[in-house]
């Protein structure tokens, strides 16, 4: 398909795709309404196009994009499950979509009930005592959670400076801890891919504010010694933060609150199927145990009799982490999903997600090196090191998968696995889809032997071929310019 025009390149002077009704109030001279120096002198160079141009252009762009509705998307730690269509419909109900955040509370009772009930569901699923739905994404939830820990420690008069993060952790964990003013201490995983209690013991002292952990971890492995780890951290007065990115694996089986975690976030867009939107909007509710509830961002939703209300009266709150109440319509989607599935449906999610991951792991380990050969949870990590020995990198394998119409797994993460391929099939994929993926991966492993050039030059059937990322970073062109036409 090759290059595709930019909307600016379709622009033609004088063309329009939009009309307002005639101004029906008496028009005043605008220079009398605003002081002279306030007006802009040059017009912003927005496109001049007809509505049909807009529609064809963006429909065309959509065809150059791949989503879960297009096919298999086993992107590890991202939980790219199928998103039920009803979620889109309920979030577009006018009573939600056209609701202003500052309507009087008596006119937001339906919205408040939804927020309140979502919190009740999340409490039961996680074993935490209170939630805020304000954070807009997982990393925003991490920020909120670590700030809550900081506020808790400050109130106790403690000046703890360190946050411990395993070397297999998501990059957001260390970035968040640093953003909150903590020193980041990285600890090595052991040869089983888990947090090593001995390594942990070496860094645990009275300066430790928290340990950030995801369980199952980014290798898809359950931290079997979690109870011991929790005790070790608590014994030195630190808190335990749960990164909920991998929550999809344990619904109804075990709960962060029962494992000893004090604070956690949930990625509603992952576990509770509110689609990822090509990079957002997400939603990252934060749950805390009772001793931390007073530090949650304001407002929290409360119920008194039949009436729901926003409670801003939390004197020890960390404040607000964003305006208003969070990504409300995303919460509507998650709530819709929770209502549809119910308790037994949620357990089914984790069972099938774990079944699918283990099925793939078992079938693929003959063809790709499996560094941690044991029961996994929702995802597992292969290594392309056998293929690397033959001159084919994991990046090449990923690009070749595009030719087969499959979105590649997460690659080169976690950093502790050489040439990593992190695969998360999710529960909504059928055995047929998994079998087809296995066939494709086997075919690619054969191509590595027989025709490595095919992989080096992949992809072959996408709208554009392999793109020069190095060149893009060396000479960044971050916007269109009308000078291009000259």
């Amino acid at each position: 398909m090759g290059s595709y025009p930019l909307i600016f390149e379709l622009s033609k002077e004088g063309r329009t795709g939009f009309e307002l009704p005639e101004l029906d109030v008496p028009a005043k001279d605008v220079t009398k309404l605003l002081p002279e120096g306030m007006f802009r002198e040059t017009e912003p160079d927005l496109p001049e196009v007809a509505e049909v141009d807009v529609v064809r252009h963006y429909v065309g762009l959509s065809r150059r994009n791949f989503g879960v509705d297009n096919g298999f998307y086993p992107l590890g730690s991202c939980t790219m499950k199928y998103n039920p269509k009803i979620n889109e419909d309920t979030s577009r109900l006018a009573g939600f979509a056209e609701l202003h955040p500052y309507v009087p509370e008596e006119l937001a009772q339906g919205a408040l009930e939804l927020l309140y009930d979502t919190e009740q569901y999340l409490k039961e699923i996680t074993g935490m005592d209170r939630f805020t739905l304000q954070p807009a994404a997982g990393a925003h939830g991490e920020f909120t959670g670590i700030m809550i820990i900081k506020a808790y420690l400050a109130k106790r008069g403690e000046k703890r400076t360190k946050v411990i993060v395993p070397d297999s952790a998501h990059g957001t964990n260390p970035a968040t801890a640093a953003m909150c003013g903590f020193d980041v201490i990285s600890i090595k995983s052991n040869d089983r891919g888990l947090v090593d209690p001995e390594e942990l013991a070496k860094v645990l002292d009275k300066d430790v504010a928290a340990l950030m952990l995801t369980n199952p971890n980014t290798l898809g492995l359950f931290e079997e010694e979690i109870v011991k780890i929790a005790k070790m951290v608590h014994d030195v007065g630190g808190l335990l933060y749960y990164d909920g990115a991998n929550l999809n694996a344990i619904l109804g089986v075990t709960r962060p609150g029962d494992m000893g975690f004090d604070v956690m976030h949930i990625n509603l867009h992952k576990t509770f199927s509110t689609p990822h939107g090509g990079g957002g909007p997400g939603s990252g509710p934060v749950g805390v145990k009772a001793h931390l509830a007073e530090f949650l961002p304001v407002p929290v939703v409360e119920k008194e009799g039949d009436r729901y209300y926003f409670n801003y009266n939390l004197p020890n709150s960390i404040g607000k982490v964003r305006t208003f109440y969070g990504n409300f319509l995303v919460v509507v989607k998650a709530y819709t999903y929770l209502k549809a599935l119910g308790g037994e449906g949620l357990v089914d999610v984790s069972q099938k997600a774990v079944l699918n991951a283990n099925y793939l792991r078992e079938k693929l380990k003959k063809y790709f090196y499996l560094p941690y050969d044991r029961l996994c949870k929702h995802e597992f990590v292969l290594s392309g090191k056998w293929q690397k020995e033959k001159g084919v990198r994991t990046l090449d394998i990923a690009k070749r998968l595009l030719d087969y119409g499959v979105h590649p797994p997460t690659i080169y993460f976690p950093l502790i696995v050489d040439e990593a391929l992190m695969i998360e099939p999710t529960e909504t994929e059928s055995k047929e889809t998994l079998d087809r993926f296995i066939e494709v991966m086997v075919a690619i492993s054969r191509e590595v032997e027989e025709n490595p050039e095919l992989l080096h030059e992949a992809p072959h059937v996408t709208p554009v071929g392999r793109l020069d990322e190095v060149g893009a970073a060396r000479n960044p062109i971050l916007r269109w310019s009308k000078d291009w036409q000259k």
């Binding site: 309404l33 309920t90 577009r92 202003h100 957001t172 357990v347 690009k399 997460t410």
Partner: protein
Amino acid sequence: MKYTPHTPDEVREMLSSLGLNTIDDLFADIPEEVKLKRPLNLPSGMSELEVKKHLAKLASQNGSADKYLTFLGAGVYDHYVPSVVNHILLRSEFYTAYTPYQAEMSQGVLQSIFEYQTMICELTGLDITNASMYDGGSALAEAALMAVNQTRRDKILVLATIHPEYRSVVKTYTWGPGITVVEAPRKNGTVDLEKLEELIDDKTAAVLVQQPNFFGQLEPVEEISRLIHAKKGLLVAAVDPISLGILKPPAEYGADIAVGDGQALGNGLAFGGPHLGFFAARKDLARRMPGRLVGLTTDRQGNRGFVLTLQAREQHIRREKATSNICSNQALNALAATVYLATVGKKGLKEIALQSLQKAHYAFERLIGEGYEPLFTGPFFKEFVVKVKNEEEITQKLLKHHILAGPGISRFYPELAPALMIAVTEKRTREEIDTLVEVMGGDR
């Protein structure tokens, strides 16, 4: 309702290929002591039909803008969203995709972000824009952090006329790393320039200003810019993107960073979210930008294509040395803004801004004609505040006529009460504005 496709036979077959007998065997690695040994105490699942009815009932309890005539503003505005926007958002290739990590398969979203970046640069006059932030408040807070890093100074001056919720977010973000935030007082409806000048010193990383400010008033941004730049600090402006259809872009009065909430650009009211924050800056700040950037490049055949670029600033590569922890942003909302701006175009945006301005001033003058007094007398764009006898009474009276206005100023500035905020967009007709005036008239 379940969305898993497995048949019982398939489950058996898959388990047996793993040498397992039951589904529970898949969880043998979880210690017994932390296993939940009871069913989740949640209601049973519902059919799609039941869920839909239940959600429709909750939605119907809300006083949404399809049922009420709305003059509510204060950061979220009832601007018109053309039909085409929602139709593009419903293309599931966009909304069911993840972050575009595999560029060749994600040219659609990558190119739309590149177009978005261009449009925000055009609106603000600045050189570079990221792929979006969570909202206006968090964008402003990240701008403060960026200014601190850039200038290596640790004090931020925040105008007291900035949206109170934005200021609250800035305080939360700056508390962790120990940045000092000082509020620059107002004098009437805008900043007190004399006091501001006194507060700016060699430790001031940036002055944060909102234009138009929370009250709808226009700040003396040129003066503020001069004051902070004289001390080599940065100017951060939070702006209403619709206003930029006619108002001077932030770059022209010297803003180094411009942020704002993009809600008005094709995103609905949504009870406050999801919206998007936009974030633009001078070119030399590129390597300190939070969030994602999309850049132009080529493939081996010379075809034009787009990739995430300058990723070496980001958390997945730099970990604790990243410029920000932002990962998921508001990409789909940025797409809405892009489609919106493409649809209304340069003429449309100007007309929307002009009609909002004209209609707001019509409403203002009619209310003054009815004997209302303005809280502030400076120039304003589409929002203003009038003094009232009793906030609660007038709000209730308006509600009886199915009109939403406000919020009452006491919610944020008790010392200015009683007064009511009123926002007027291009959507309001003369008849609707006259109805507001009629109901409010005689009360003053």
